[in-house]
């Protein structure tokens, strides 16, 4: 299987340099960017966290989940339920509560899904996510098809002193950037820990791991739960930023977008997921913003361009940007 081999866990120096420059650019961006673009990049960073959480399953463990958006959306809903109509709540307990809600859902669903393999895993994760989707979509009490508004952003204060104000777009930007960096460093360390090595072993050959005495069920369930919780972190931030949450965020289009983000950059190293999330959101923005040509509004048909884009990427560069770099380095030998 090509997921087993085409991996780039150790990033080449040149890629690290580009990532470092990218980080500097991100840190400086709000100083030059307009409000619109600052918010757009904030959204990209939130989706980067979401994509990294999926990469833990897809790239590291070799589990392709087509239902990851469910855990993203659940945390957003948790924030919406915890925020009263007329006042703000504290970040310090709503954030852990929302992440916990997503993690718990992933633990329960994971208990059923990680005992399946390959194609079953894909179909079952999708089906369970759809169950969560319909739970919210069909119940008026849970917001129904319209979703819910989050009228007040959570407050971050210690003993009555406000540390930072998430209502401020630039503050929100830096809070998200910090969250993204923390998640990245955490996952990179996890990747090289004994736990991370065991997950990579499961991707390469689960039977061999079992023969060596690893309880792969427990490892896979832990990875699934952790990935769900981190997706919850992203979903919480999404809820804070947009102030609005709806079932579409848990739909299978959102899950498939996340898979695409992880693929676009290159999987299994988390940096690729960030690059992929930025690229995907930018491409989506460009397609939706295409001009009117003659009597045809090109932007209105963004689904067509996005579909063609996805098909072309899968046909010609199915291991993303980093996959292409690796291919060039190997003189095209790794082409399958």
């Amino acid at each position: 299987m090509s997921t087993a081999k085409a991996h780039l866990e150790v990033l080449p120096g040149s890629v690290k340099l580009v990532l470092g420059l990218g980080l500097i650019a991100l840190a400086a961006f709000p100083l030059i960017g307009t409000d619109f673009y600052t918010q757009m990049v904030t959204r990209m960073m939130i989706l980067s966290i979401f994509a990294m959480s999926l990469d833990l399953l897809q790239g590291v463990t070799g589990l392709v989940s087509l239902g990851h958006a469910a855990y993203f959306g659940l945390a957003g809903y948790a924030l919406a339920f915890l925020t009263p109509q007329s006042e703000a709540v504290s970040l310090w307990w709503t954030l852990p509560a929302a992440v916990l809600a997503s993690g718990l859902a992933a633990l329960v669903i994971g208990f059923f899904v990680v005992r399946t393999h390959g194609i079953y895993f894909i179909m079952v994760t999708m089906a369970f996510a759809q169950m969560v989707f319909f739970l919210f979509f069909d119940n008026k009490a849970l917001g129904g098809s319209d979703g819910l508004y989050i009228n007040f952003k959570p407050t971050a204060s210690v003993m009555g002193v406000t540390l930072f104000d998430l209502d401020n777009k630039v503050t929100m930007y830096y809070a998200t950037l910090a969250a993204m960096l923390i998640v990245y460093v955490f996952l990179r360390r996890l990747l090289w820990s004994p736990f991370g090595r065991a997950l990579a072993g499961i991707r390469v050959n689960e039977h061999r791991m079992r023969a060596m005495g690893f309880g792969t069920f427990g490892y896979k369930l832990s990875a699934f739960t952790l990935a769900g919780a981190l997706a919850g972190l992203a979903g919480y931030l999404w809820g804070v930023q947009s102030g609005y949450i709806n079932p579409e965020l848990m739909g299978f289009h959102m899950s498939a977008h996340a898979i695409m983000m992880v693929i676009l950059g290159g999987m299994g190293n988390f940096a690729g997921a960030i690059v992929g999330a930025f690229t995907f959101e930018y491409v989506l923005h460009v397609f939706k913003d295409l001009p009117q040509v003659g009597s045809v509004n090109l932007g209105k048909h963004w689904q067509l361009w996005m579909g063609l884009f996805i098909v072309l990427v899968v046909v010609f560069a199915s291991r993303g940007v980093l996959g292409l770099i690796a291919q060039v380095k190997a003189g095209g030998k790794t082409h399958d």
């Binding site: 299987m1 090509s2 997921t3 897809q58 392709v64 087509l66 059923f112 899904v113 005992r115 399946t116 390959g118 194609i119 079953y120 894909i122 179909m123 079952v124 999708m126 089906a127 369970f128 759809q130 169950m131 319909f134 739970l135 979509f137 069909d138 299978f252 498939a256 898979i259 695409m260 693929i263 048909h301 689904q303 067509l304 996005m306 579909g307 063609l308 884009f309 996805i310 098909v311 990427v313 899968v314 046909v315 199915s318």
Partner: protein, 287 residues
């Protein structure tokens, strides 16, 4: 629940189950033989429904629309197989998921460009528009019985094709051991094309016969696709027999769930799937 109501619900659930079977059979065959997970399978159902709307308006007859629609859908399926799918049989499931997801976007947008985003109705043919009275105020539409009849006929045809014909023997050989079948002189590429076209054809027939009662609307493919996934997971991938039994089971649970436990109806089918997964992680009829 009195007997006539029960009978109506039973007939409805069988009809829904058989319709799901038409789709799930193609999905499970395509996976079992070519190893492809096809998210765009629901799009073929949608294609069938829109062809029914378009052709029945053009010809003024659902029978002609059925014949014309199946031919067009099968040709479309063959072209798609030749252009894209055959290159993905040996690839990772991940690539197949993304390819077919991209196709969903393309098909949805083309559908929107060709036929717009409105909900369309398709008239029930005059001959089948009657209802059979059961009590003073309950009756059962003949068209639904016709639908079930079409599905049963096709299911029997599919069974005979796979178990009793030379082509069926080759299909089974290809599913069992691809290399060995090829070594024995079977043109496996042609078998793949035939199976793919068969799957598309079945899905399109389902869409065409369902169009008059379900009406024709955007994203109708995605909803049915997920139900088909549940059917295939419960039945066991690659098993047509499993797909039939599981489709009928899902039809029963879904239809009676909506009557008996309306607040839980959306979830019941998934709970059934969860229970089956605990008991038999590879489905009831894994081969």
């Amino acid at each position: 629940m009195d007997f006539p109501t029960f009978l109506i619900q039973l007939l409805n659930s069988v009809q829904y189950g058989l319709l799901l079977f038409m789709l799930a059979a193609g999905l499970t065959l395509i996976f079992g033989i070519m190893g492809v997970v096809n998210l765009a399978h629901g799009s073929f159902y949608m294609l069938g429904a829109y062809l029914a709307y378009w052709l029945s308006g053009y010809f003024g007859s659902l029978t002609l629309a059925l014949l014309g629609g199946v031919v067009l859908a099968v040709l479309f399926g063959l072209a798609l197989e030749w252009l894209l799918f055959r290159h993905f049989y040996q690839r990772d499931h991940l690539d197949q998921v993304l390819l077919t997801f991209g196709l969903i976007y393309i098909f949805e947008e083309l559908r929107s460009m060709l036929w717009g985003d409105d909900v369309h109705g398709v008239p029930i043919p005059e001959l089948l528009s009657a209802s059979i009275p059961l009590t003073d105020n309950l009756s059962y539409p003949v068209y639904r019985l016709f639908m079930s009849g079409v599905c049963i006929a096709l299911a029997v045809g599919l069974y005979l094709l796979i178990s009793r014909t030379r082509l069926g023997m080759k299909i089974r050989a290809g599913a069992f051991n691809r290399d060995m079948a090829e070594a024995l002189g079977i043109n496996i590429k042609r078998i793949h094309a035939v199976v793919f076209a068969l799957g598309v054809g079945l899905a399109a027939v389902a869409g065409i016969v369902a169009a008059p009662i379900s009406s024709v609307y955007p994203n109708m493919g995605s909803q049915v696709l997920i139900m088909c996934f549940v059917v295939v997971v419960i039945g066991g991938i690659g098993s047509v027999r499993g797909a039939l039994i599981s489709a009928l089971l899902v039809g029963l649970v879904d239809t009676f769930g909506k009557v008996l436990l309306p607040s839980m109806a959306g979830m019941l089918v998934y709970m059934l799937m969860a229970a089956v997964l605990l008991w038999k992680p590879e489905g009831l009829f894994k081969q």
